[in-house]
Symmetry: C2
Amino acid sequence: MRRRARASGEFDLIARVEKRTRLPRSDVLLGIGDDAAALRPPAGQCLVACVDALIEGVHFPRATAPADVGWKALAVNLSDLAAMGAMPRWATLSLTLPRSDPAWLDGFLRGWQRLARRHRVALVGGDTTRGPRAIAVQVLGSAPWRKLLRRSGARVGDSIWVSGTLGDAAAGLALVRRRLRGVNAADARFLRGRLDRPEPRVALGVGLRGRAHACIDVSDGLAQDLGHILVAAGVGATIDAECLPVSPALQRAVPDARRLLAHALNGGDDYELCFTAARARDDRIVALGRALGLRLTRIGRVTAARGLLLRTSSGRHVEYAARGYAHFR
Amino acid sequence: MRRRARASGEFDLIARVEKRTRLPRSDVLLGIGDDAAALRPPAGQCLVACVDALIEGVHFPRATAPADVGWKALAVNLSDLAAMGAMPRWATLSLTLPRSDPAWLDGFLRGWQRLARRHRVALVGGDTTRGPRAIAVQVLGSAPWRKLLRRSGARVGDSIWVSGTLGDAAAGLALVRRRLRGVNAADARFLRGRLDRPEPRVALGVGLRGRAHACIDVSDGLAQDLGHILVAAGVGATIDAECLPVSPALQRAVPDARRLLAHALNGGDDYELCFTAARARDDRIVALGRALGLRLTRIGRVTAARGLLLRTSSGRHVEYAARGYAHFR
């Protein structure tokens, strides 16, 4: 990797990164320290690769604890692998910092490493440069090609599922921005934790291999991300508004039913998985959720008629006009 | 990949990136467009991965043409692969732009794609975000593990070689910063071209597989980068100052012999390869250079005594105190 920008102490930064992120894996032949890393690819599987960057002030509030930034930078990438049914293996990190700040870096690496250890992800390449704080992460994983979970593949009649609860992270962000008030301390902590420390659903993704027809992670809000699945297959969906899984904390924080529904449908950054599977597999999906200790909720079904219909509590069907993160703000 | 930040037109950016960087490869099972890419790893080879970021104002002058930025962002990464003897296969790109600027993006992608086509590198993942202009690139290639070129491995008695010419890019940067004047237009164009459009020495790296004992790319200046090779093997080197390859343009631009030597020793950003090989292979290295149409110069030899000795034109040996890019400025 290029060393030029690592003048005046940045060599130390890379050494620091290497020291604090050690995680032995037999498929890492050569880690940080040469011009590039050498990795042993998995036999009989395909590689799964993605990249995601976090910019301070755009993807995380400026006041975010460095450990949370480190966690989240890795988590959002692992979430993409999870959505493919891939097992994570290696990561590279490109870190831009406004100044040499060992305390911030140590915090960042602590959060990163905590999640990395949990999923056994080895950091194999790093690059540090000076500039406005930004983090670009690339992760590599593997999966059997024939069992890869793709966005396309949803079939009419499929059940639509979502993991965990929806809208919590958006409420966490609203708290930071002081657009949500009067929330009790425990609920605020929970909601903020959902924003700062999303749990990539890696085990669920692997469990869904060969079972789900289509899968995506919910980063921009359920409506928009489910929309990608529907467009990819040229199908539609009916969603039961009543079924959307929301946490007790979110229900208390946003008691108004309409606003609560908006959070569940449009709130981004939850990093849950939304997937479709044959109705005949409903029981096995339920069993999988139980085995993983993870709430899996059937929220609707795939329809031949395009578009997204919302079935409200009164039984009415309302056509949902796609509104994403951009418009939600 | 995360879509959240791609609000207000950034979906279009990714579509634009995808459209303008198409390059079919049979080992890309799934490219841009799902949560992650799926790639078929090479049988019997190891993967070689590296990451490198360019920040505007730090790694390239603000006035740099977007096509040059696109070229260089890929080139510096391919140079790392070249230094390992790896063949490039795939790349991912994380692009941070201050605003939606299709003209800049198109220019960037034109430069990128020109180099990508030459080396058959497929862009398989992309992420665009808002912020101060920055580009993080990750490239993946492959090489036979046993023939990988590493920094370590230099042996006492080895010849030390360098490709191309040294110091041109540093002079190009000095021109941009108006620290170098009175250079004729053709020479200025050449030197600036060496800064903006470095040629990653991929074919040389592959040709050196199993022949070179150690290899690194010259990004921070010959003295510093050769220093990494020496430290890794616990050896030293004697360099013939007279032998350092400098271009006629650089000789004209920097007529003073001492300053010229400083450029050749300390100038960064040339992205030539510096490598060591057994003296018995000298003829084959010369033949390789001839076959590739690339100047390869034997500049010295590896010694048991640590440190870097410089043999001057008068035959004197001067101990070279390692000075890198940071101090050069």
